[in-house]
């Protein structure tokens, strides 16, 4: 097979280059806390080594006549020292045109990825590979044990395929268009960056609590999100739009045994109209029901069908890129706010090989907030703990207080970390 040096953007990625900017960076980040201080030269070498096995990350974004595409980037990658607002927009030109960044600071390594490149689970796979390669370069003998992909084989091409298109099926379940939605809002910062709060919970305690509500962890967290949102932004307030919609990404790799490192997730929309006072139990029940409905294969296939058929539409295809950009930007300007009230992204448990886990104390997952999605939660489990990272675009932290408050009241042991972004300097 001829070596490929360019890739069309996958179905989900197509929108990001048109609408990204300072107000919408569309990044997500994995951070690992190590037991020893980071050696920047080795880390830089590790990232460059890994790029040879993940060609879709060794790319730069280019404009075509009809679509954007990813083209092989021949420049070397350079890691950077962590900054306070590391989730902010990546300056591609300053980053040798790469669409991701790797930061280091003392014991911490972070991988920040622009969403056009990959989604959370794809990014996590690459992050694990970087960690493995880094420790191997440090001379540690680590057996990947099938938990992390290593080496280059002809099968690697599967990692760069667009599985939205390859698993496209004709399915038509009518998907309701969301009505006007309630939104989280507050006083914007008068400086760049996002407020971040991480709550670390014991996984078994959270699972036990979810079980008490008859829900899985993701269902419980989604219900709690609804409840905290309702208490923070709707309860006792004269708000016109009382319809709340939370987007929960679903990793499609397991469903279709996909190995793709590109975007391959769809969303379950947990929508509810808050017409009266609701309890936490009711919210969890609503979330669990909507999750189960949303995870139905026909529904997910219909969403994929809708998205891919738009891409396959001949009339849309032949519209020049500058016109597509213009239409998407205008559409996002007017309708972007109405897509969701909030996002909860749970990438699940991270399983590292035992020899590698010795050196990695903690793993965290965070998502950059944006002008259209001002409050997000990222969840990841590692070594019996679950880290929930709240990102927000504004000063007020009422939502986090409600969310973490409920967990603390339920008797969970919680450790909180924050970047105190609202702090006056």
């Amino acid at each position: 097979m001829k070596k490929r040096n360019w890739y069309p953007l996958d179905n989900a990625a197509k929108i990001f280059p048109a609408v990204y900017g300072e107000k919408r960076p569309y990044n997500f980040c994995f951070s690992a806390l190590l037991t020893e201080k980071v050696e920047p030269e080795k880390l830089n070498e590790a990232v460059n080594n890994i790029l040879s096995r993940v060609p879709t990350f060794k790319t730069r974004l280019k404009r075509g006549v009809f679509w954007y595409y990813l083209e092989e980037n021949k420049k070397p990658f350079r890691i950077s020292e962590e900054t306070g607002d590391y989730l902010a927009l990546i300056d591609f030109a300053e980053n040798n045109d790469y669409l991701f960044k790797v930061y280091y600071r003392e014991y911490k390594i972070s991988l920040v990825v622009f969403h056009a490149l990959s989604d959370g689970n794809g990014g996590l796979e690459v992050f694990k590979q970087i960690l493995l390669e880094y420790f191997r370069l440090l001379g540690k003998k680590i057996d990947a044990g099938g938990l992390i992909k290593t080496g280059v084989s002809p099968e690697n091409y599967k990692e760069s395929t667009d599985n939205y298109v390859s698993n496209y099926k004709k399915a038509r379940v009518k998907i309701k268009k969301p009505k006007k939605l309630a939104h989280s809002d507050g006083t914007p910062f008068d400086y760049d960056g996002f407020a971040l709060i991480t709550a670390t919970l014991q996984a078994d305690q959270l699972k036990g609590l979810s079980k008490r509500f008859g829900a899985t962890v993701t269902e419980f967290l989604s219900g709690l999100y609804l409840y905290a949102f309702y208490r923070c932004y709707l309860k006792g307030q004269n708000v016109k739009n009382r319809n709340v919609c939370i987007l929960v990404p679903v990793d499609m790799r397991r469903k279709y045994s996909s190995e793709s490192l590109r975007n391959y997730s769809l969303f379950v929309r947990i929508t509810h109209f808050f017409d009266r006072d609701y309890t936490l139990e009711e919210c969890v029940k609503i979330a669990a029901e909507k999750m189960r409905e949303g995870l139905d294969e026909k529904v997910l296939d219909s969403i994929n069908h809708f998205n891919v058929s738009a891409e396959k539409n001949v009339l849309l295809k032949i519209v020049p890129l500058f016109l597509k950009d213009l239409v998407l930007r205008i559409g996002y300007y007017f309708e972007g706010e109405n897509l969701q009230s909030g996002d909860l992204s749970n990438v699940g448990l991270v399983d590292l090989p035992a020899e590698l886990a010795e050196y990695v104390k903690d793993i965290n997952f965070s998502i950059s907030a944006s002008h259209t999605s001002k409050q997000l939660v990222g969840a990841v489990g590692y070594k019996g703990k679950i880290n929930l990272t709240f990102t927000r675009y504004f000063k007020e932290n009422g939502f986090e207080r409600e969310f973490i408050g409920v967990l603390a009241e339920s008797g969970l042991d919680i450790v909180v970390k924050s970047n105190y972004w609202e702090k006056k300097l």
Partner: protein, 224 residues
């Protein structure tokens, strides 16, 4: 590690107040070698005030100039309209500043827009001068120069493979311009004929010698 008795959470921070309720924290155990997980923000970074003052000012001045010129032209010499030249000049300035100087687009795209802008500007200037010089001499000279420069770059540049499809598109566009002038207008046509043949040969050469590169590049840039 610190503790907030109001929120009932432990707080891992060097700050002495809770990030949730902003009450003072109790010290649980003093840590000697703690790592601050999050970096706070640095004081110097202020959000850039993006009210685009210069853009608005330039837009306002452009509109003022155009309106004043049109008014003066209409009331002094209504039978001889020179104000469109001013509009086009202003438009050209917008291309020059907004696209050529300030934007981060590729040099070839900038050159292309400059070429189009300049041609339109010269056409209007020609109309004002009331003598046919642009279409007869200037445009074919520009076309010949453009084709020659591209041919030269194709021969000497180290990046010539990356430029094949861009130059191919430009050759086609230049050929189209020459053919339109030859077929539609009745201007002095020898220079256009020379350009059409010369440029056509360059086009053919590109197709013959760089067919594979051209095909791959077009598949990449114009994929559907």
């Amino acid at each position: 590690m610190k503790y907030c008795k109001h929120c009932n959470v432990k707080v891992d921070s060097s700050e002495n107040y809770c990030p949730l309720c902003y009450n003072y924290l109790e010290e649980l155990e003093p840590e000697t070698d703690r790592f601050e997980y999050y970096l706070g923000r640095d004081g110097g970074k202020k959000r850039s005030a993006s009210n685009h003052f210069l853009l608005k000012l330039f837009l306002y001045i452009s509109v003022c100039i155009s309106v004043v010129c049109f008014t003066v032209n209409y009331f002094t010499e209504p039978h001889m309209l020179w104000s469109p030249v001013v509009f086009v000049s202003v438009l050209y300035l917008w291309i020059l500043i907004g696209h050529t100087i300030l934007s981060k687009r590729s040099p070839f795209e900038k050159i292309f827009f400059q070429f189009v802008g300049l041609v339109v500007l010269l056409i209007f200037l020609e109309r004002l001068s009331m003598r046919a010089w642009f279409l007869d001499y200037v445009l074919p000279s520009i076309l010949l120069a453009a084709s020659s420069v591209m041919a030269l770059i194709s021969l000497i540049s180290k990046r010539k493979n990356a430029l094949v499809s861009t130059f191919f598109v430009y050759y086609v566009l230049l050929e189209v311009v020459s053919l339109i002038v030859l077929l539609v207008t009745d201007v002095y046509s020898v220079l256009y004929l020379i350009h059409a043949v010369y440029n056509g040969l360059l086009l053919l050469g590109t197709v013959i010698f760089a067919y594979r590169i051209l095909k791959a590049d077009i598949a990449k840039k114009a994929h559907l």
